[in-house]
């Protein structure tokens, strides 16, 4: 299929508040896409819309070629690990595997059992007694053994300690390498995403502010430090995204496709976190023309 997730003018409203506004996205298969943004930006809303747990107020969303949760065939293509990895506390690990086997036509029982064994989980143990990290791994196993084409994860590692977090991501990446599934995961911990994502979507205040290939974005965004200068005087090919100045010195974050050759500038790299933070802050006060161009960059 050509796209694994396609949203067009997607919006979701709760009462008066718009949790997601005018979201238009296209995510191609074979990528690990990170969905970043501050709390309340609309990440969970977008993901819940993608798996059919919510219905859109406006616009459309198409996942793996069909409307989310339309029918069992469509449901089988998408695996979901919800925030706080909900599980049935009174059921055992083996019960959860049986749940997966009974409710999913493409269930890979051998893979599920192998993973559980590799994780060192006792199948007879009640899931309520497992640690947070173990529950998260179980939820991931359930989602992977379903053999979906797209795996959606809503803040899967938010409440895990660093070791559990690393182990979760290791298992996830191994599965991606082995089965070639596409992944969309949300997090407000950008450092984790920098390791695993090759594609990023930044959501701020219910809108998409940035979307693109991570490497390309990092290669085309620079931090420029040099003598004080008015951002409006920067060359046309360089869009200034954030500007801060002291009386003698200016620091800009610019986006440009060409190399920065002006020797006055000292050019620095941005980490993904810096980049995301730049887009999460309001753009500098430039003329209206430049401002509209900053809204969504692909």
């Amino acid at each position: 299929m050509s796209t694994v997730l396609r949203a067009d003018g997607l919006g979701k409203r709760y009462g008066r508040r718009w949790a997601l506004t005018d979201c238009t996205l296209e995510i191609e298969p074979g990528h690990v896409t990170g969905l970043v943004g501050p709390n309340g930006a609309g990440k969970s809303t977008l993901l819940n819309l993608a798996v059919g747990l919510l219905a859109p107020t406006t616009g459309t969303i198409e996942v793996c070629g069909g409307r989310p949760a339309d029918d069992p065939e469509q449901l089988a293509l998408v695996g979901f690990v919800a925030q706080d990895t909900p599980t049935y506390a009174t059921l055992s690990v083996a019960d959860h595997l049986r749940l997966g086997a009974r409710l999913n036509p493409r269930w890979d029982d051998a893979m599920a059992r192998a993973r559980i064994a590799a994780l060192g989980l006792d199948p007879r143990q009640r899931v309520g007694k497992l640690s947070g990290g173990q529950r998260a791994q179980l939820a991931l196993t359930l989602a992977l053994a379903k053999r979906p084409e797209l795996l959606v994860l809503d803040e899967p590692v938010a409440s895990l300690d660093p070791l559990a977090r690393r182990e979760f991501l290791q298992v996830l990446m191994e599965a991606v390498a082995e089965h070639g599934i596409s992944v969309v995961l949300s997090s407000h911990l950008v450092a984790d995403l920098e390791r695993v994502c090759d594609h990023v979507v930044v959501l701020v205040d219910s809108r998409v502010r940035l979307e693109g290939d991570v490497e390309h974005l990092l290669a085309t965004h620079h931090r420029l430090t040099g003598p004080r200068r008015d951002p409006a005087t920067m060359p046309a090919g360089q869009q200034v995204l954030s500007a801060s100045s002291t009386e003698r010195q200016s620091t800009f974050v610019v986006r440009t496709d060409e190399p920065v050759l002006d020797p006055a500038w000292s050019v620095g790299q941005l980490s993904l976190e810096d980049l995301v933070l730049t887009y999460m802050s309001p753009p500098p006060d430039l003329d209206a023309g430049a401002r509209t161009a900053l809204e969504v960059l692909r």
């Binding site: 747990l53 449901l75 599980t87 749940l99 939820a139």
Partner: protein, 343 residues
């Protein structure tokens, strides 16, 4: 999905099933003795009942009335609400079954279990109580008839309708309120309301009652009571034992309900404390008969509306059917809500 439903039901069902099984066993064990007692001498039956038997009688009624409520509260309310509260709906609705199928299997199987449990209990209690309903004693009063509001719900097939309704009600309220405890409380309230409202306003009309207007005589009279407002009311027998009397009022010649005429008070025999003269007694009786003749001559009649004993089962089936229909309607709402609104 079947497996999952049964697995989830296991915990809450085990308790109820155990209790019902225990009750059924107790009844099965004590029943035959009761039947023998009844066959030996029906007239003295009630007098021979031990207090344990009476207790079991009332306990049986209580159990059959209670079980549907328990089903509604403990099986129905958490069915959807629990999943919403713990967030497990986010896991189970993103497996490969549609929400409709999920609810259909969950509600359907639970309903079957509910009907099974209630049927077993009701069967046991109905069978056990059959010699007892309406049994009368000369000295100890009487056991309530089958038509008494609470007892009616503790027999036969009506409890099945209630069980189904309570289950679907609990489930729907759970889906709408999204929280288990408020859903439980509201389910209980609604069920109580239903238990009060139905015998009062709906049950009498489910099957057409018998309506008659008769003249009161000494032999048909059952009681004359002096109300707190000083008014006398007259009651007559329907001629049908263990009937459910809905209306028993004095009407005048045109059919309007009226009070007994003032002169009727003088007809009454003096209170027992003043009695003692056999002559006065006899005179009182003779006078009473004359009074009744005069009553009839003046056009006073008794308007009776009642359900004879034979209407018991038609009423049971009608009520069960009513609640089955309500359940179906409510279930439709529940499905719609779960599919569309819980989104």
């Amino acid at each position: 999905m079947t497996w999952l439903t049964l697995r989830q039901l296991r915990a809450s069902a085990a308790g109820l099933f155990a209790v019902v099984a225990a009750v059924a066993v107790v009844l099965a064990v004590t029943g035959p003795a009761l039947f023998r007692l009844h066959r030996a001498d029906p007239a003295l039956f009630f007098d021979r009942l031990s207090s344990a038997d009476s207790f079991l009688y009332y306990a049986g009624v209580g159990a059959v009335v209670l079980v549907p409520a328990l089903i509604g509260i403990f099986w129905g309310a958490p069915l959807i609400a629990r999943e919403l509260e713990t967030g497990t709906h986010r896991m189970v609705w993103t497996q490969s079954v549609s929400r409709t199928r999920w609810l259909a299997v969950k509600l359907g199987l639970t309903a079957l279990a509910a009907l099974g449990v209630t049927a077993l209990l009701s069967l046991a209690v109905t069978w056990w109580s059959s010699p007892m309903d309406g049994a009368q004693s000369t000295t100890r009063g009487a056991l309530p008839t089958r038509f008494t509001p609470i007892v009616f719900d503790g027999r036969g097939v009506a409890p099945l309708g209630y069980a189904l309704f309570a289950l679907v009600l609990g489930t729907t309220l759970g889906a709408v309120l999204r929280r288990t405890l408020p859903a439980m409380a509201l389910t209980l309230l609604v069920l109580l309301g239903v238990q009060i409202a139905v015998p009062l306003w709906i049950r009498p009309h489910l099957v057409p009652p018998v309506e008659r207007t008769v003249a009161a005589t000494v032999s048909t009279m059952t009681d004359i009571t002096l109300g707190q407002d000083g008014k006398l009311t007259l009651g007559v027998t329907t001629g049908s034992p263990n009937a459910w009397i809905l209306v028993d009022e004095t009407v005048d010649a045109s059919g309007r309900p009226v009070q007994l005429p003032a002169w009727f008070g003088a007809c009454l025999p003096p209170p027992p404390s003043q009695a003692g003269q056999g002559a006065t007694q006899a005179q009182g009786d003779g006078g009473l008969a004359a009074c009744f003749d005069r009553l009839a001559a003046e056009g006073y009649r008794q308007h009776l509306v009642y359900h004879p004993n034979s209407s018991f089962w038609p009423l049971q089936w009608a009520e069960a059917g009513l609640f089955a229909g309500l359940s179906a309607l409510l279930a439709g709402c529940c499905f719609w809500w779960t599919r569309r609104r819980l989104a």
